[in-house]
């Protein structure tokens, strides 16, 4: 049987692509946290730094992310359809002992995250949703040159309750998805046993919580007027 059609093989591919995206989420949060000013020039300087990377690196990185998202979604949908068929008739009484809301709804939190990623890219990467505040159209001075005003774009976006609400809600969904996904990675890769598993489950939830709190702080502080654009 082919690796990509086997039960464990497909899950391993989902686990690896999922974990790679978790690593991306960590790096993305560290980069975004420059908005709080630890980097000279803030998030605008960080954006300039990212865009000054060689083009093949940027394109390669984006392509790799796209491939990972696609593989993760493709196998996610495939195994979910198979799994729904694994028990065609449900029990009259539902009695779950260890399954959680997060573990039972991975497909739906996944669908919501995909919708959010599309919205997020249209908002901040392609900057087509709110063209008036698009960073690429509003240049500001930084170290004697004119650079896109990322801070202004982010601040303008999150001052809107509706936008902040979507981002905060999406981060709740991300927390749910990762609280099951991170510990699942270790189990699927076979890197857990009875002694390590309880710790891994806690570790996964902790990482998911830290990412949630980290990400949600940005729209929250801007909406509350603590962080100003």
């Amino acid at each position: 049987m082919q690796f990509t059609s086997s039960s464990i093989g497909r899950k391993v591919l989902m686990a690896i692509t999922g974990q790679a995206m978790v690593l991306f989420a960590v790096v993305h949060l560290l980069g975004n946290s420059s908005i709080f000013g630890w980097l000279s020039g803030g998030i605008n300087a960080y954006a300039v730094h990212l865009h000054s990377l060689p083009l093949p690196v940027i394109v390669g990185f984006r392509l790799a992310l796209l491939v990972m998202v696609c593989v993760h979604i493709w196998f996610g949908i495939q195994v979910t359809i198979e799994n729904r068929g694994g028990r065609p008739q449900q029990y009259a009484v539902k009695s779950t002992q260890k399954a959680t809301f997060a573990s039972e709804n991975m497909i739906w939190t996944g669908v919501l995250l995909l919708a959010f990623i599309v919205y997020h890219l249209l908002h901040f990467t392609f900057q087509v949703l709110y063209p008036d505040t698009a960073a690429l159209k509003n240049l500001v001075p930084l170290h004697n040159e004119m650079v896109p005003n990322v801070l202004g774009m982010v601040a303008a976006g999150f001052k809107n309750f509706f936008v902040s609400f979507i981002y905060a809600g999406a981060m709740v969904v991300l927390f749910l998805h990762l609280s099951h996904g991170i510990q699942s990675f270790f189990q699927t890769m076979g890197w857990s046993n009875d002694r390590s598993q309880p710790l891994i489950i806690k570790f996964g939830s902790l990482v998911a919580l830290v990412l949630f709190l980290g990400y949600v702080t940005i729209p929250l502080t801007i909406f509350a007027g603590i962080l100003k654009g």
Binding site: F3, S7, G85, G86, S95, G190, D194, Q197
Partner: protein, 252 residues
């Protein structure tokens, strides 16, 4: 038994004539049940009443009634084997219930386990998985010396933990995906841990997981309901070990 308090229970039981019958729930009243009855003895009482009334008794699987054979297989109030920790249905006692309780009794539900009748399902798919590699090939002949092959005690104990599986299929019944990963994981691990099983470890994990998929079992999504359902307390670490064996086999 007159000095014992008895219970009257309402049973809502899945009745299905054969694999093609859509099946439906039927309601029965169990009377004169004491806390000393096992769950199966309670069903025996109900069946005696049904037979006396000229009705079809409830058909269910059972054999040893000691909790070691793996034949009994009922989902009670949504939990395989009734949800008591490390207990098969036959070892579940009526002291766990109260007078006046309503109890739902259903068969194992999984695509790979077609219902034969009422509460009996066909678990031959588990045999198919075993036939795909759940054995070691060895020469018959004289009995080998007991301590000729040395096995460290922790390894021997872990293999024995995996070997506790009685093949009842509760893991499949408890899994929302109808997956047989805990069963297969226990068998793969048990053999892969021991020197006698290592020789065929690569082919075994590939063939047994392939058989698992061909039999119509779902995939694991790490809910760990299987471990909660297992009357022998088989740990999901054996699924992780099988995943490890499977990945190792890709490079062998």
């Amino acid at each position: 038994m007159s000095d014992h308090k008895t219970m009257t229970l309402t049973l809502i039981v899945w009745r299905q004539k054969n694999a093609n019958d859509p099946g439906k729930f039927a309601t029965y009243t169990a009377t004169n049940i004491t806390e000393h009855h096992s769950f199966l003895e309670m069903l025996d009482c109900v069946n005696e009443d049904l037979i006396l009334a000229g009705k079809e008794p409830i058909v269910f699987d059972h054999d040893c009634r000691e909790g070691i054979c793996g034949m009994c297989s009922q989902v009670i109030n949504g939990a395989p084997h009734g949800g008591q920790d490390r207990t098969t249905v036959c070892q579940l006692h009526m002291r766990k219930f109260k007078d006046g309780d309503t109890i739902y009794i259903e068969p194992w539900r999984a695509r790979a386990f077609p219902i034969i009748r009422d509460l009996i399902v066909d678990r031959a798919a588990l045999d198919t998985i075993i036939q795909a590699g759940g054995y070691t090939s060895c020469h018959t002949g004289g009995v080998p010396d007991g301590n000729a092959v040395l096995i460290p005690k922790p390894i021997a104990e872990e293999a024995t933990d995996a070997a506790e599986c009685i093949g009842c299929g509760a893991c499949v019944a408890g899994c929302p995906n109808g997956a047989a990963m805990l069963f297969t994981g226990a068998k793969v691990s048990q053999l892969a841990l021991l020197p006698q099983g290592k020789a065929e470890a690569v082919a075994r994990v590939k063939n047994m997981t392939a058989a698992m998929a061909e039999c119509g079992f779902g995939n694991c999504s790490n809910h760990y309901e299987c471990q909660a359902a297992c009357p022998k307390g088989i740990n999901v670490k054996f699924i992780a070990r099988m995943n490890r064996e499977f990945l190792k086999a890709q490079f062998a």
